[in-house]
């Protein structure tokens, strides 16, 4: 049981994961970081986070597969997801799918601290209301 809202961060770059974690902790969230998609998927199978911050460009296991898993899972279907990506084309492809783009927002890398902070605060508030 989490007293603070749970945010799952899936980002393979350690430093970026650390920055996101610091930003989210700054808005009083509990943060769990995964550096690879497979482990994140195993965790998400039984978790109910308030927000997921997901890098699309993960090695071995692409972020789009994790997103598909989330949207296909009845427990996670409505969970807000912030996608971080350097590739606008990849993001555009995702947004073409109504199923995948449900409750989805995008931040293009490099992610602004202020932007992530404001967005995360707003979405967590929505999720916990």
């Amino acid at each position: 049981m989490h007293s603070k809202p749970l945010v799952v961060v899936v980002e393979d770059d350690e430093y970026l994961a650390d920055i996101y974690s610091d930003i989210l902790k700054g808005i009083d969230a509990e943060v769990i970081v995964f550096n690879d998609g497979e482990t994140a998927l195993m965790y998400l199978a039984s978790a109910s986070p308030a927000l997921i911050v997901l890098d699309l460009n993960l090695p071995k296991y692409p972020g789009s597969k994790i997103l598909t898993f989330v949207r296909d899972n009845p427990k996670l279907r409505d969970t807000w997801v912030i996608i971080t990506s350097a590739d606008t084309g990849q993001v555009a492809d995702l947004n073409r799918s109504a199923h995948l783009s449900h409750n989805l927002l995008t931040l293009i890398k490099p992610v602004s601290v202020d932007q992530l902070e404001q967005l995360a605060r707003r979405l967590i508030s929505k999720a916990t209301d």
């Binding site: 770059d13 970026l16 610091d22 700054g26 350097a86 590739d87 606008t88 555009a92 490099p110 602004s112």
Partner: protein, 596 residues
């Protein structure tokens, strides 16, 4: 002079044969035209002098005209035979040597004719007689023994020519058989009439042989007009077959080789004597994997790789067609093979080139994605930590540290915008940049841009004015991110290059179907030579203030390319010392929503 209506057939025939002769001369490029023309003129000669003799009462005159007439009598069979040989593809038999041999008897005959009143060898006697049928006084010239020698000779050469025509008839394709048939009919007529005269089988003494030869010529002439005898001689058929560069093999209904063209003998290095009549599979089976079943049906096609002796394998298009001489009766099979080795080699080369291009394109796409990710990730780390430190997330910082962090952040942002523009340019170059068209509220989107850049302008004490026209729709459909990118580029350029005065940005409605983004400044203006190249990539403007970061020259180029992707236009008006105005005109999408 005798007058009689019997002259009319001769007058008509003379006219027609003469005309036919001139017509044939106009076709003299055809090998058969010249002997035909000669036949016409000899027949005309014959008729003219025969008629002249008939019309006279005088014996001496009749004898004279008979002798002159005999040039025609001798010339017609000779030219007929020459025509028959030329028409049946044996024109090369007619040369000086053969002509000299053939002319021996006619020359001797003519000498004998001219001197017959001395020795009576050709005509036993020469006298006048009244014809019981026509009432005309005619020359009575019973045959001497040389007459029969000449008659035998004449019939022999006529028979010789007719033999080749008949053979041509039997060998010819249907298209030519009518031509040959008409020719046979045409020559039979004078044979018959001459036989009737020579053997006294008709009651009149009038010699109609010249008339019937004229009839023959007219029938042949009709054939020329109707079937184009002189335009396409059957001999051309053989020449065409022999000159076809593709392999052509004709099989009989039992799949035995009936005919091969020279190209097939060359290609397969065969001797025709060895293969004619042999089963197709026995000769070609080792090279052509064609089964008996492939000869059924209306046509068979296959591309075949044939390994030929002493040569590398070659590709052929193989066609098999069934030949019919009558409906539902197979006369044989036609196999044609076209060498397509060069085509196959080109196809393979193109295929490789295409695969290389696809691989290169795929590689470029992957490279772009990788470069984007690999550059932006560390940039994110730099700006992220910088920002967090500046906020005091890792402890209190001094003013100096804060100032340094601001410079680090500014540099990171500069690098980030450089990366973004390089990636945009790369995507534009490879055609991979796609517009994300969606509905957006222009007042919100452009208002954000104006708000952000007002801060920038105020930092330089510039008066920044912005306007969104009231007739701009509430909702528009376009790639709002790219429009923002373009607007930010234009306004930030204007602010960067303007030291005093103002910068204006306007969003205006031009018409029902067009709208405009316009940015103007009171900066130093752009020189005419710089104006010409301002939208080219990596063009940088000189600036008086040296420490201004001039940029890397991609912003306007990318903006122009994106505007053009949107089917819009961008133009600049500027005068040195009087500022610049950039105007972008775009199409208003039909599902944009106007305010009411």
């Amino acid at each position: 002079m005798q007058s009689t209506f019997y002259v009319f057939p001769w007058i008509i025939s003379i006219t027609l044969t003469l005309a036919m002769g001139f017509y044939a001369l106009r076709r003299r490029k055809n090998i058969a035209a010249i002997p035909f023309a000669a036949m016409c003129f000899f027949a005309t000669w014959w008729s003219v002098f025969y008629l002249t003799g008939v019309l006279s009462y005088d014996l001496a005159f009749k004898i004279l005209t008979a002798k002159i007439m005999y040039i025609g009598v001798l010339g017609v069979p000779l030219s007929w035979t020459a025509f028959a040989l030329a028409f049946s593809g044996r024109g090369d038999w007619i040369n000086k040597r053969t002509a000299s041999l053939v002319l021996i008897v006619p020359v001797i005959t003519y000498i004998i004719v001219c001197t017959t009143d001395i020795h009576h060898l050709h005509w036993a006697q020469l006298s006048l007689v009244t014809d019981e049928v026509t009432g005309l006084v005619l020359l009575d010239a019973p045959a001497g023994w040389w007459f029969w020698v000449h008659a035998l000779y004449t019939y022999s050469i006529l028979l010789f020519g007719t033999f080749f025509l008949i053979r041509q008839f039997l060998e010819a394709q249907n298209i030519y058989r009518w031509q040959i048939f008409i020719s046979i009919i045409a020559i039979l007529a004078p044979w018959i009439s001459n036989a009737l005269v020579v053997f006294s089988l008709i009651t009149t003494r009038l010699d109609i042989t010249s008339l019937t030869f004229s009839f023959s010529i007219l029938v042949l002439g009709w054939g020329y007009f109707r079937y184009g005898f002189l335009d396409l001689v059957p001999v051309a058929q053989r020449a065409v077959f022999d000159s076809i560069p593709d392999v052509v093999i004709v099989l009989d209904p039992d799949l035995r080789i009936a005919e091969l063209n020279p190209a097939s003998l060359r290609t397969f290095e065969l001797g025709s004597a060895l293969v004619m009549g042999q089963p197709f599979k026995l000769v070609f089976g080792q090279w052509l994997p064609v089964e008996e079943m492939n000869f059924a049906g209306d046509g068979f096609y296959k591309q075949v790789l044939v390994a030929i002796n002493l040569n590398p394998a070659r590709w052929f298009d193989v066609f098999i067609n069934t030949l019919h001489d009558q409906p539902n009766h197979i006369a044989g099979y036609l196999i044609t093979m076209r060498d397509i080795t060069s085509y196959k080699e080109n196809e393979a080369a193109l295929g490789i080139a295409r695969d290389d291009a696809v691989r290169a394109n795929s590689f470029k796409t992957q490279l772009l994605a990788n470069v984007s990710h690999e550059l932006r990730t560390p940039l994110g780390v730099i700006s992220g930590y910088t920002e967090l430190m500046a906020r005091g997330s890792y402890g209190q910082i001094t003013e100096k540290q804060s100032s340094i962090l601001a410079r680090v952040k500014e540099s990171a942002q500069y690098l980030d915008s450089l990366v973004a523009e390089l990636i945009d340019q790369a995507q534009l170059d490879s055609g991979k940049l796609q517009l994300a068209v969606a509905s957006f509220e222009p007042r919100e989107v452009f208002g954000q841009v104006f708000g952000q850049l007002t801060v920038l302008a105020e930092a330089k004490n510039l008066d920044f004015q912005s306007e969104i026209s009231t007739d701009i729709p509430i909702v528009m459909t376009a790639d709002s991110q790219r429009l923002k990118q373009i607007l930010v580029n234009l306004i930030s350029n204007a602010i960067k290059f303007t030291e005093h005065g103002k910068v204006e940005a306007k969003i205006l409605r031009l018409s029902d179907s067009q709208w405009v983004m316009q940015v103007s400044d009171s900066g130093p203006g752009i020189a005419p030579d710089a104006l010409e190249t301002i939208f080219e990539p990596f063009r940088q403007l000189e600036h008086a203030v040296k420490n201004i970061r001039k940029g890397y020259g991609l912003g306007l180029s990318i903006s122009k390319q994106i505007v053009e992707l949107m089917n819009g236009t961008i133009e600049v008006k500027s005068q040195v010392g009087q500022g610049s105005t950039f105007t972008i005109t775009l199409q208003l999408e039909t599902d944009s929503v106007d305010g009411t």
